[in-house]
C-alpha cells in the first residue's frame, strides 16, 4: 500500500495541479470552471454514445502508452511512437485493399500482425543505429517521425492515392477487414478489449518474465546488468521492437476500425500524448490503462465542453502539458535521458 502510494503519489499530485491550473485559466477567460468541467464530464460519461467515444479514443492511447512504458522502463527513450504508429497504419491501409484466400478474420489478424511488424521495423532502425553507431535514440526516433510523416504525405498524393483521385487519401480497405464493433450502432470496437488483453500480457512480461526483469534491470543500471551476465544490448533492442510493434498495432487498428483509410494528418498526435499517458501511469501497464482512459475521456469530452460551455477544446492540451511538466519536475529529471549524478569521491 505504501509502495503503491509512493509510486502513484506524483501522478495524483500532477493531475490535481493540472486541473487547478486549467480551472484557473478557464476562470481567467471569464467562464465558470464548474460549468466547463461539468460539460467535460458529461461529454465523456453522460451517455452510452459518449462512453463509446471514450472507448474509441482510449484504444490508440492505451497501446501507445504501453509502447512508451516498455521502452522507457528499459531505459530506451522512444520518442518515435508517432512515426511507428503511422507506419503501422500505412501497412494496414496498403494491404487492406487486397483480399487473401483466407477467412476474413484470419486476414485481418495477419494484417494487424503486419502493421505491428511495420512499427517494429521503423523502431528497429533507431535500435540498430543506437547499437551499431551509438546514435542517441531520442534524436533518431524523433527524426524518423518526420520521415514517416513525409513518406505518407508522398504516398497518399502519389502511388497510393485513391482510385478516383479526388482527395489525398488511400482507397478504403475492404469492408470485410473492418474491425468488428462491440455494440450495434456505436463506434466502440474490438480494439479496446484487445488492447486491454495486451496490457495484461505486458504486466506479466515486465513483472513475471525473465525478459522483462532483464529489461528493467538494464534500464535502471546497465553496468550492473552487464556484470550479471544479462545481454544488455539485446534487451534494449527487444524493448524498442516491442514498443514499435505496439505503436504499429495501434495504427493498424485505427485504420481497420475507425478511418478505414489513410490520409495525411491521420494521427492527432497520439504518439506524443502517449508520453503523458505513460508517465502519468508511472510506466506500469495497470497505471497506463487508467491514464489512457483518463486522456481518452478528456479527448472525447472536450468537444462537448466546447459546445456547452464555450471553452475551447485546447484546454485539454493544456491539461496534458501541465501533467507532463509537473511529473518531470516532481521526479527531478529521473525520467529524462542522460541523467547524471555528481559524486565527490574520497581519494
Amino acid at each position: 500500500m505504501q509502495a503503491l502510494a509512493a509510486r502513484f503519489g506524483p501522478s495524483v499530485l500532477a493531475l490535481a495541479g493540472a486541473l487547478a491550473v486549467s480551472a484557473l485559466i478557464v476562470a481567467l477567460a471569464g467562464r465558470d470552471p464548474a460549468v466547463a468541467f461539468g460539460a467535460l464530464w458529461y461529454g465523456a460519461f453522460g451517455s452510452a454514445d459518449s462512453l463509446s467515444e471514450v472507448a474509441v479514443k482510449t484504444c490508440p492511447l492505451l497501446l501507445c502508452g504501453l509502447a512508451i512504458a516498455i521502452s522507457f522502463q528499459a531505459g530506451v527513450w522512444n520518442i518515435g511512437v508517432e512515426g511507428q504508429l503511422l507506419m503501422g497504419a500505412l501497412a494496414m491501409a496498403a494491404l487492406g485493399t487486397h483480399a487473401l484466400p483466407l477467412p476474413a478474420g484470419l486476414t485481418l489478424g495477419a494484417y494487424l500482425i503486419a502493421a505491428a511488424a511495420a512499427g517494429a521495423v521503423w523502431a528497429g532502425i533507431a535500435g540498430v543505429l543506437k547499437l551499431r553507431r551509438n546514435v542517441n535514440e531520442v534524436i533518431s526516433t524523433i527524426m524518423l517521425n518526420f520521415v514517416a510523416l513525409g513518406l505518407i504525405g508522398y504516398l497518399v498524393q502519389g502511388p497510393l492515392m485513391e482510385a478516383g483521385g479526388r482527395y489525398p487519401q488511400t482507397d478504403a480497405i475492404l469492408p470485410a477487414l473492418w474491425m468488428p464493433r462491440l455494440v450495434l450502432g456505436h463506434r466502440a470496437h474490438a480494439g479496446l478489449p484487445l488492447a486491454l488483453l495486451i496490457a495484461g500480457a505486458m504486466h506479466v512480461l515486465l513483472y513475471r518474465g525473465v525478459a522483462g526483469y532483464e529489461m528493467r534491470a538494464a534500464g535502471l543500471n546497465p553496468a550492473a546488468a552487464r556484470l550479471a551476465g544479462i545481454g544488455v544490448d539485446g534487451r534494449l533492442l527487444l524493448s524498442l521492437l516491442v514498443s514499435g510493434a505496439l505503436a504499429g498495432l495501434a495504427g493498424g487498428i485505427e485504420v481497420s476500425a475507425v478511418t478505414h483509410r489513410l490520409y495525411e494528418h491521420f494521427s492527432p498526435g497520439w504518439g506524443f500524448t502517449a508520453i503523458a499517458v505513460g508517465l502519468l501511469g508511472r510506466l506500469s501497464p495497470a497505471g497506463v490503462v487508467v491514464a489512457a482512459v483518463f486522456f481518452g475521456a478528456l479527448d472525447a469530452g472536450s468537444n462537448a465542453m466546447q459546445r456547452a460551455a464555450g471553452v475551447s477544446s485546447v484546454l485539454v492540451s493544456i491539461i496534458q502539458a501541465v501533467v507532463i511538466l509537473s511529473l518531470v519536475a516532481l521526479e527531478r529529471g529521473r525520467w529524462l535521458p542522460g541523467r547524471t549524478a555528481t559524486v565527490v569521491r574520497e581519494d
Binding site: 513475471r208 525478459a211 532483464e214 528493467r216 535502471l220 550492473a224 550479471a228 551476465g229 544479462i230 574520497e346
Partner: protein, 513 residues
C-alpha cells in the same frame, strides 16, 4: 602522533602556505586528524599516501572545496579558509583535478576565456580571447596549442596543460595537481615535469599528489607522507629510499588475526597464464600476469590502486577482453570472455563498487538477489520467473548472510553494510568454483567488514578458490593464504606466510627484486 621532521635543508624562507591542526570528518570516517604541514614558495612538494590516507581531502580543503572541522590554513601568514573554489582561485590557489573540467566541443581559447577574469561587455570577442590566451601562456611560460583547435582534438597531455593554465589564470602562486600523471603516457609525463620545473623557477609552489614513489624521487624537492589521515613526516626524497617511503606509507602492519585453522588446500581450480589487457586508452594495463589458485585457498592480490587491479577484475568478470594469455577453471579453458560465459564457467564476483556494478538500487532486495544470469535460470521456467522459488532463494540467502532488511524494500533503502551483504550472499549462493572479490569491504563499518571477511573465509572453507584483489593491505594480510603484489600491471610471485613486510613494501613500490 608527533610528525618526524627530517628537513634536509635549514628553513631559509618563511612558508608560503601553512596548515595548522586541520581535522575533517565524513560520517564515521576521520579523514584528517590534526594535520600540521607547511609549504614553501619555489618548491615542488609531493604528498604521498595510499588510497584513503587523506591527501585528496587535504587538497580539497586548500582549494576551497571542503571546509575543515577544526584548524587553520595560513597563506603568507594570513588565515585563508575559503568558502568556494572560486575564492581560493582569487587568492592565488589553483587546483588541477584528476578528471579534467574542459568543454570538449569548445576551442582552446574559449575554454580559457571561461576561466579568465571576465571580458567586458556582452559580446564574446574571439580575437581578443585568443590574444588573452596567448598572453596568459606567455606570462606563465608554457607552450599553448593552437587556440582555434577544439579540446576534443587535443591529446591528453595538451589538455592537462590547458587545465594548468586555467588554474594559473588568476596569477596563482600555488598550483595543486591531483595525481597528474595517472592519465599520461611516459612521454607526456616527461613534458609535464619540464613544465613543472619551469613553474618552480618562477617561485611558485607546486603541490603534487601521487602514490608513485618513482615520481617523488624524480621531481619533488620535499615529500610529505600521509597515512590514515595523519602526517607521518616531511622528508627530503634524496635521503629516503623507495622502500623506506613505502614503509612509511604502509606503516607497521601486523596481521590482525593470526590464521588459526589451516585449511587443507585442494587441487588447482583457477589457472591464469600470461594474461595481458589494455586500458581505455589502449595502453598495456596488465602484463603477463600468471597465477594459480587452489580450492580452499584465498589468494590475495595487494598493490596501490591504478596498477591494473581494475583491469584484472574486469577481465575475470568478462567485462574486458584480454589482449593475450589464458584463463582456465578446473582445467577447462575459458574461450568466451563475456560475463555470462565466465559466470557459467563458475567464476563469481564481488565488484569493487557495489552501487555501480553490484545492485540495481531502485529494484527490491528480492529482485537484486536474482541479479545474475545463473540465478535467473534457476528461479524461472520457460521464461517466467517463479515467484515462489525466487522468494525461497532470497529468504534463504538473506538468512544465511544476515541481511537485515525487508525483501520487498528497494535496495536503495539499505545501509551500505546490508547492501554489500546482498552482493556477497548472491555471489556465494551460486556456489562458484572461483570467487573474485575486489575491495569487498571498502567503505564498510567494522561489523559489516567482519561479516564480509567471514563470508569469504567460509566459502574458502567449503572449497571455493578465492581471489581477493584489494588495496587495503590489512584486509589482504588478514584473509589471504598467499599474497602477491600487482605493480604497474605486473604480478609478483606469491609470498607465503609469514610475510616479510619490507619485501611487500618493496614490491608495492615497484622496486625490481
Amino acid at each position: 602522533m608527533g610528525p618526524v621532521q627530517n628537513f634536509a635543508e635549514p628553513e631559509t624562507t618563511a612558508p608560503l602556505l601553512m596548515v595548522r591542526g586541520v581535522s575533517k570528518r565524513f560520517g564515521n570516517t576521520q579523514a584528517l586528524a590534526d594535520v600540521t604541514l607547511e609549504f614553501r614558495a619555489g618548491e615542488i612538494h609531493a604528498v604521498l599516501g595510499e588510497n584513503g590516507a587523506g591527501k585528496s581531502t587535504l587538497m580539497h580543503i586548500l582549494a576551497g572545496i571542503y571546509r575543515p572541522d577544526a584548524g587553520a590554513v595560513l597563506l603568507d601568514g594570513w588565515p585563508a579558509v575559503f568558502n568556494s573554489p572560486r575564492a581560493a582561485r582569487r587568492a592565488g590557489i589553483g587546483m588541477v583535478h584528476q578528471h579534467f573540467t574542459l568543454v570538449e566541443t569548445l576551442t582552446v581559447a574559449e575554454n580559457l576565456a571561461l576561466s579568465l577574469p571576465q571580458q567586458s561587455g556582452w559580446r564574446y570577442d574571439a580575437a581578443a580571447a585568443a590574444a588573452e590566451a596567448r598572453a596568459l601562456a606567455e606570462r606563465v611560460g608554457l607552450d599553448l596549442s593552437p587556440t582555434e583547435l577544439t579540446v576534443a582534438e587535443l591529446p591528453v597531455g595538451a589538455r592537462q596543460r590547458i587545465e594548468i593554465l586555467k588554474a594559473l589564470a588568476h596569477a596563482a602562486r600555488v598550483l595543486i595537481l591531483d595525481e597528474p600523471t595517472a592519465v599520461l603516457t611516459p612521454q607526456e609525463v616527461r613534458k609535464l615535469f619540464v613544465m613543472l620545473r619551469e613553474l618552480r623557477a618562477q617561485r611558485r609552489l607546486i603541490i603534487f599528489i601521487t602514490h608513485k614513489l618513482r615520481e617523488v624521487r624524480e621531481i619533488a624537492d620535499r615529500v610529505t607522507i600521509m597515512r590514515r589521515g595523519c602526517v607521518v613526516g616531511t622528508f627530503d626524497p634524496a635521503l629516503l629510499s623507495e622502500s623506506e617511503m613505502a614503509e612509511h606509507m604502509i606503516g607497521d602492519v601486523v596481521p590482525a588475526r593470526p590464521r588459526v585453522t589451516e585449511r587443507a588446500r585442494g587441487d588447482i581450480v583457477l589457472n591464469v597464464t600470461r594474461l595481458s589487457a589494455r586500458d581505455e586508452r589502449g595502453l598495456p594495463a596488465l602484463l603477463d600476469v600468471s597465477f594459480v589458485v587452489r580450492g580452499s585457498e584465498v589468494f590475495g592480490i595487494a598493490g596501490v590502486d591504478g596498477n591494473g587491479q581494475r583491469e584484472l577484475f574486469e577481465v575475470l568478470a568478462g567485462l574486458r577482453p584480454p589482449s593475450g594469455g589464458a584463463v582456465s577453471v578446473r582445467g577447462s579453458p575459458v574461450t568466451d570472455f563475456t560475463p555470462r560465459a565466465l559466470l557459467a564457467a563458475g567464476i563469481g564476483h564481488i565488484p569493487p563498487d557495489r552501487q555501480r556494478d553490484g545492485l540495481v538500487l531502485p529494484m527490491t532486495v528480492q529482485e537484486n538477489f536474482l541479479l545474475s544470469r545463473t540465478l535467473l535460470d534457476r528461479c524461472s521456467r520457460r521464461g517466467l520467473l517463479s515467484v515462489k522459488a525466487a522468494r525461497r532463494f532470497s529468504a534463504a540467502a538473506a538468512r544465511a548472510y544476515d541481511v537485515r532488511a525487508d525483501l520487498d524494500a528497494p535496495a536503495r533503502s539499505l545501509s551500505g553494510g546490508n547492501q554489500q551483504r546482498v552482493v556477497v550472499a548472491r555471489a556465494l549462493a551460486q556456489r562458484p568454483a572461483v570467487l573474485v572479490a575486489a575491495n569487498p569491504s571498502r567503505g564498510l563499518d567494522v561489523a559489516a567488514t567482519r561479516a564480509v571477511a567471514d563470508a569469504l573465509l567460509d566459502s574458502a572453507g567449503r572449497g571455493c578458490a578465492v581471489v581477493l584483489i584489494s588495496t587495503d593491505l590489512d584486509e589482504v594480510l588478514d584473509l589471504s593464504d598467499r599474497v602477491a603484489v600487482l605493480s604497474r600491471g605486473r604480478l609478483s610471485t606469491g609470498l607465503d606466510p609469514p610475510i616479510d613486510i619490507e619485501q611487500l613494501g618493496l614490491l608495492m613500490a615497484g622496486v625490481p627484486r
